[in-house]
């Protein structure tokens, strides 16, 4: 029995990590593509159709770059830091539930690696350790720019962790559990038969605070001060190159996915469908079939412009997407996969929001960031807890 659990767990970890790495790779692709369209250019489009092979090219590039170690680094810690950053970033995905549990042939399938009673606390614990990767990288590089980047990020992450933690307390009061699955299950149902009972409505203030703090926690514009290239060159990763740099990069995007998942779970009802009516269950099939059609059409159009054979691979991909869409018409498949579809769609919206904001606004100054964290977000979050507590108690 013990061995079966172990094997199943290991298999789950392998699957989740593979999916996660693929997602990270394609979030980078998405970021470059969206940034390109926002900025009136194409983004990657030479490596494979629509630049779809760009992640592979990026990885190979990082792999073949010279791994340069400056002379003045503090050796063991300098090498430890990127591993720490990436490992901690990957660890937090362990408790994220991706879909509803289903029972097939007497066996219950859990769509997560493990369901901890304290899932949310676990995530906070792991992210609170994430600061070490950056702080130690900054310190051990032996460069002033890195040091300042490391110091800034330590201060920033400590400050915003408080806001982040306070922001979700409202959700915890309402749901009465720390288990992420429990929190999502508490959000099932509809008000007036149409408005989903998601915590975004009663906890709108908490959501805004969470969103802002999450931007800061993932070090993205407008809070990307630890790596503000305008001032600190590269910030904490100035002295890192090759795969060590790629590890920081992976960690950053993994964190982005984690906070997007968390926002979905805490405030947007996780894998719940957004509308109560029966026809909603056909939406995934429609969306996927539409996507397949769109992909085929765009690929053929682009082929006419660019005359590159690689675009013929896209209709194949579209075929797979379309098949998955057709599979949704089967009730058993739909029961298993529809929750994952909704979850993935919501996460995608958040990721898009992150990218959108990054390419639209300038960067805060360090003191303004601290001011916002301590004097605005924290009091607002505290007031939110107070009011939520009062309302629940009455």
């Amino acid at each position: 029995m013990d061995l079966t659990i172990l094997i199943i767990s290991l298999a789950k970890i392998a699957v989740v990590l593979t999916v996660l790495f693929t997602c990270v790779a394609y979030v980078v692709w998405l970021e470059r593509k969206v940034a390109g369209r926002i900025q009136n250019r194409w983004g990657p489009h030479r490596t494979g159709p629509f630049g779809l092979l760009q992640p592979a090219a990026d990885f190979l590039k990082a792999l073949f770059k010279e791994d340069f170690t400056p002379a003045q680094v503090q050796r063991p810690i300098y090498f430890l830091a990127p591993f720490l950053a990436m490992t901690l970033a990957l660890m937090s995905i362990a408790v994220i539930p991706f879909g509803e549990n289903v029972t097939i042939a007497g066996r219950t399938i859990f769509f997560e690696i493990t369901d901890l009673n304290i899932g949310l606390l676990y995530i906070f614990a792991v992210t609170s350790l994430g600061v070490y990767g950056i702080a130690l990288a900054g310190w051990s590089s032996g460069s002033k720019y890195s040091l300042m980047g490391g110091l800034r990020s330590s201060a920033q992450m400590i400050s915003y962790e408080l806001g982040l933690g306070f922001a979700v307390v409202g959700v915890l009061i309402l749901s009465g559990t720390l288990s992420l699955r429990g929190i999502v299950n508490a959000q099932s149902g509809f008000w007036f038969g149409i408005i989903p009972k998601w915590y975004i409505w009663p906890q709108f203030v908490g959501f805004l605070v969470y969103l802002t703090a999450a931007f800061a926690e993932t070090n993205r514009t407008p809070f990307d001060l630890p790596e503000a290239e305008g001032e600190l060159v590269g910030g904490f990763h100035t002295e890192y190159s090759s795969l060590k740099f790629a590890m920081f990069f992976t960690a950053e995007y993994t964190n982005m996915i984690t906070v997007a998942c968390l926002a979905t779970l805490l405030f947007f009802g996780g894998w719940m469908a957004p509308l109560p009516w029966a026809w909603v269950q056909h939406v995934p099939a429609l969306v996927l079939l539409g996507m397949a059609a769109l992909m085929t059409r765009t690929a053929l159009r682009t082929y006419r412009l660019e005359r590159r054979k690689s675009y013929f691979a896209v209709p194949g991909l579209a075929g797979i997407v379309g098949l998955i869409g057709l599979a949704f018409l089967h009730p058993v498949f739909a029961a298993v996969a529809a929750p994952m579809f909704w979850f993935a769609s919501k996460v995608f919206v958040f990721l898009f929001l992150y990218i959108w904001v990054r390419w639209s606004v300038p960067r805060f100054r360090y003191d303004q960031l601290m001011h916002l964290g301590w004097k605005v977000l924290l009091p607002v979050a505290a007031a939110n807890i107070l009011i939520t507590g009062l309302v629940v108690a009455l």
């Binding site: 503090q74 304290i118 606390l121 130690l136």
Partner: protein, 164 residues
Amino acid sequence: MDKVLFLIFAGIAVGAAANLLRSRHPIHSALSLIGVMGALAVLYLLLGAEFIAAVQVIVYAGAIMVLFVFTIMLLNAGAEVPTSGSMLARYLGIPLLALLLLQLVRLLLGQYPPDQASSFGTFVGPTEKIGRLLFTQYLLPFEVTSVLILVAVMGAVVLAGRKP
């Protein structure tokens, strides 16, 4: 399985603690201390005390030790030069330490005989129960502690704000 995990993490905790004492560089000592905290958290988890484990990591490793590391980085403290030490410590230190440890083991065994020791996973402390106890039975100590921390914070602000 549980025993193996216990031994691994207990070993890590003790090893990291030894390294903490041995290291010459403050950053290495701080990192060892984080290792001790992490290993302890896992031990709590094995006992079933999930909340304590999470708090251990969030508060000690994630906040307090970050401040330690922050301070060390800010002061840019370098490796320390070992002092020659006193004769007393050199010759009596290890025997006295061993004596102390033996005494501790004897006391613990006397109070909690092996057959009464809590086994793995039995020490279940759901978060909800802890919260309820904190805000009912232990409300006074809880509030006093928070006032104490507030006073300490104010003291720190006053001291830091004073112009030299």
